[in-house]
């Protein structure tokens, strides 16, 4: 039994690689759908797929070379004779299959496909100087005034920002699907929780058009609100926005 198995080592390795491919292609999208409770399958991204396949093939080769005996068996499959008809058949399949796969690879690389767009951007560019010194006038007031500001801010947020950023500030408003650069999910700890109050003030006042070019202002649907909202209103919105999202602004570092 052990003897027979080692004779077909190369076939086992190839079968394992094919199984890995089938798993990534067909099983894993379904598994992730269930695990992440999504309503749609989650296909493995193509580059990820490529890396996994390379890793799989390498793992197979590493396994085949764990001992000299294994390596000899592995390559031994290609030697003529000394096996059942099935071996000869598989040998033929292998000999024909290899050049065909190479040809197929070249074909899929060479046919002109539409390039997919690269849209890299920096989400948090540096704050322009004129906004650096600003401070939220309502953060220092007494608790009662602050509470009122938050309430007012929440209402303003619901009125003006909700269609995009969503009523829970989760980036899921009814218009959010229309903008490929999606409205930001403020509950995500990587967004407004990582910046200071006046940074948000700048973003609301100047919007997408106020961004520097490394942040792709041409794709940003974030409106500039400077003509429609007064500074006081913006400070209140900020308080309401943080409260709705349930996060806190980053504390300012003490200046020396």
């Amino acid at each position: 039994m052990a003897k027979k198995r080692s004779k077909f080592l190369m076939i086992w390795v190839i079968t394992a690689v094919i199984c890995l491919f089938l798993f990534l292609k067909y099983a894993s999208p379904k598994i992730f759908q269930v695990l992440m409770a999504k309503d749609h399958t989650m296909p493995t991204p193509s580059t990820l797929m490529m890396w996994y396949m390379i890793m799989g093939i390498l793992a197979g080769l590493v396994y085949a070379t764990t001992s000299n005996q294994k390596f000899a068996d592995f390559l031994g499959f290609l030697l003529p004779g000394g096996g059942p008809t099935i071996k000869i058949l598989l040998q033929k399949v292998l000999f024909i299959g290899f050049p065909v796969i190479v040809g197929w690879f070249v074909y899929s690389w060479a046919i002109p496909g539409a390039a997919s767009p690269v849209e890299l951007r920096i989400q948090h560019p540096t704050l322009p100087q004129e906004f650096e010194k600003l401070e939220n006038p309502f953060r220092q007031t007494d608790a009662e005034t602050q509470r009122k500001c938050i309430e007012e801010g929440k209402i303003l947020f619901q009125t003006y920002c909700r269609p995009c950023h969503g009523s829970k500030a989760d980036g899921n408003g009814p218009f959010s699907n229309s903008f490929r650069l999606r409205p930001i999910n403020f509950q995500d700890p990587g967004t407004i929780a990582t910046v200071v109050d006046n940074y948000v003030f700048w973003r609301i006042k100047e919007g997408g058009p106020g961004l520097p070019s490394e942040s792709t202002p041409w794709d940003s649907a974030m409106p500039s609100w400077k003509d429609d909202l007064k500074d006081d209103e913006i400070w209140k919105i900020i308080m309401g926005e943080y409260d709705t999202a349930g996060v806190m602004p980053r504390q300012r570092e003490k200046l020396e």
Binding site: V62, A72, W218, A221
Partner: protein, 532 residues
């Protein structure tokens, strides 16, 4: 020799692993956006309806719901100004998604499901983000706004079995759709363009729009066949969408539900519109030309223009579908969208525009997606429906050709729009309205004389494109429109013959390496090494 081979392999593997993990992260996060919410059916164990629960519910309500639904539950919260439809008034029985007969209040489970799922396309969020206990509590609290909850022991609609979806059942459903006059509101093809809807909107000025049944992702009460069955059985309180419990037998309601389900399609969204090369001399200019079938459609969701005042909070057009073909001289686009009427007024007209940058961008930089900016001009191809007194009253039936007018413009921001001079107007176009859908073709040569104001198409490049649509019956005009952000068109290169030569060469090389390797192996079998 094997040892060296092995250590090379292992270090290679480690490098791959690290890069793999990095690449994987960035790609997976780009994938997570999922477009539409769904109606969730599961309901957990109920909480008992005690006065403490109601008191807790009041707290939740006054934290999370009041600014839309109003402190007294009247649906007039301070934030409701920009919301269409308006938040539910809990003091009246206007509940839509119920499993109970028309005019009855919903069951607690119905409320739990809708509060958990939210309502697609409206301000109503999904509240699976608060605990189940909090959800039950707030539901018990909103029930206190309406006395009817105490009086009604809500009668459940009983569903007797189900009928499998077969072609026969769908066909029967289609007949019934006519017989019981669903089409009067929902239109022949279910696009929400029935004559009654048109009358409701334009003559009685009522805010109701019959649902476009082909876009089932917008169904408020879910789009599974059971959900549609329930909607047909119970209707939506206080809307024109009535209950068919009495008018149709149980079996017939299933037939209709299967038919409605068969009308719905998926949104074929994509980022790049692939433009196919057409072999024919002439590209189609007729919107109904069958050659359009050869092009792959891409659907693009639209939002109201709320980037600059005057803002449009309540757009009625929420998607366009686009196809394109090119040949050696020309390119043609077919743009389609659902619009419940082709009614319009002199200034409020149905219209559509395609937007391109004036030059194909060489770097990442593009003009601003909303009409360009001072540093990046855009080229607009704008089509506007024809209008004359008393026009546009045919709501269904034969296609109505409205050639309309096509003009080419340039813009550098929405305050800086100029129409191109007559000699550079080189886009032609034509529109047709049929059964609740506009189909508009626009066509131009790939290159033009006006290289400054016109986009020059090049094969294989990614060319940004954006869309805007106006609905005359919704009083859309100028900045009051539905818009998209930048997408791309790409003129597909035909597969060059040389590819097959490359493939042949690759196969020959592959085969030779293989033969060399095997021949070598057979001459020096690996066993020898072991025997040393």
């Amino acid at each position: 020799m094997i040892k060296a081979f092995k250590s090379v392999l292992i270090s290679l593997g480690l490098i791959v692993l690290m890069t793999g993990a990095f690449v994987g992260r960035s790609e997976v996060s780009a994938q997570t956006s999922h477009l539409f919410r769904t109606y969730k059916h599961e309901v957990p164990q109920k909480l008992s309806e005690t006065s403490e629960a109601i008191a807790e519910g009041k707290k939740v309500y006054e934290k999370r719901c009041w600014y839309c639904h109003g402190i007294e539950g009247k649906g007039d919260g301070p934030a409701s100004k920009t919301m269409f439809p308006k938040p539910r008034n809990f003091t009246r029985n206007e509940y839509k998604v119920r499993s109970t007969a028309a005019g009855s209040v919903p069951t607690d489970e119905d409320l739990f499901r809708i509060v958990t799922s939210g309502i697609e396309g409206t301000a109503m969020p999904f509240w699976n983000t608060i605990s189940e206990t909090e959800r039950w509590q707030v539901i018990y609290y909103i029930k206190t706004f309406n006395e009817q909850f105490k009086k009604d022991t809500a009668p459940k609609v009983v569903s007797v079995g189900s009928v499998a979806s077969t072609p026969d059942s769908i066909k029967r459903g289609q007949e019934l759709f006519k017989e019981v006059k669903c089409y009067e509101c929902h239109g022949e093809d279910g696009r929400g363009n029935g004559p009654l809807t048109v009358a409701l909107q334009t003559e009685w000025n009522m805010p109701y729009r019959a649902r476009d049944l082909s876009k089932s992702w917008n169904f408020k009460g879910g789009n599974a066949t059971e959900d549609i069955y329930r909607t047909i059985s119970t209707g939506f309180n206080e809307t024109p969408m009535g209950s068919y419990l009495e008018k149709l037998s149980d079996e017939d309601r299933w037939h209709v539900a299967h038919y409605v389900k068969s009308l719905s399609k998926d949104m074929a969204s994509d980022v790049v519109v692939k433009v196919k090369l057409s072999e024919s001399e002439q590209l189609p200019i007729e919107p109904l030309d069958e050659n359009w079938g050869k092009a792959t459609p891409v659907e693009v969701p639209l939002a109201g223009q709320i980037l600059a005042s005057p803002r449009h909070w309540a757009p009625s057009i929420d998607a366009v579908m686009i196809r394109a073909l090119y040949n050696k001289d020309e390119i043609a686009f077919l743009v389609e969208w659902d619009d419940s009427t082709n009614k319009q007024e002199e200034i409020f007209r149905d219209a559509m525009s395609l937007q391109f940058p004036t030059k194909i961008p060489e770097s990442l930089k593009k003009p601003y997606f909303a009409m360009g900016d001072s540093s990046g001009a855009v080229n607009l191809w704008s089509w506007k429906a024809h209008w004359s007194e008393g026009f546009g009253s045919i709501a269904s039936g034969a296609p109505e050709t409205e050639a309309g007018a096509v003009i080419e413009m340039n813009a550098k921001g929405f305050k800086n729009i100029v129409t191109q001079p007559p000699e550079s107007q080189n886009v032609t176009g034509k529109g047709i309205y049929q059964n609740g859908r506009w189909k508009v073709v626009m066509k131009r040569t790939l290159k033009t004389e006006d290289a400054k104001g016109d986009i020059q198409f090049e094969i294989g490049k990614l060319i940004p494109i954006a869309f805007a649509v106006w609905d005359g019956s919704n009083s859309d005009v100028a900045g009051q429109k539905s818009v998209s952000s930048w997408y791309y068109v790409s003129l597909e290169k035909p597969v060059p013959k040389t590819v097959f030569v490359y493939v042949l060469i690759a196969i020959v090389i592959g085969a030779s390496i293989e033969m060399w390797f095997v021949a070598r192996l057979r001459r020096f079998p690996p066993k020898l090494e072991e025997g040393q």
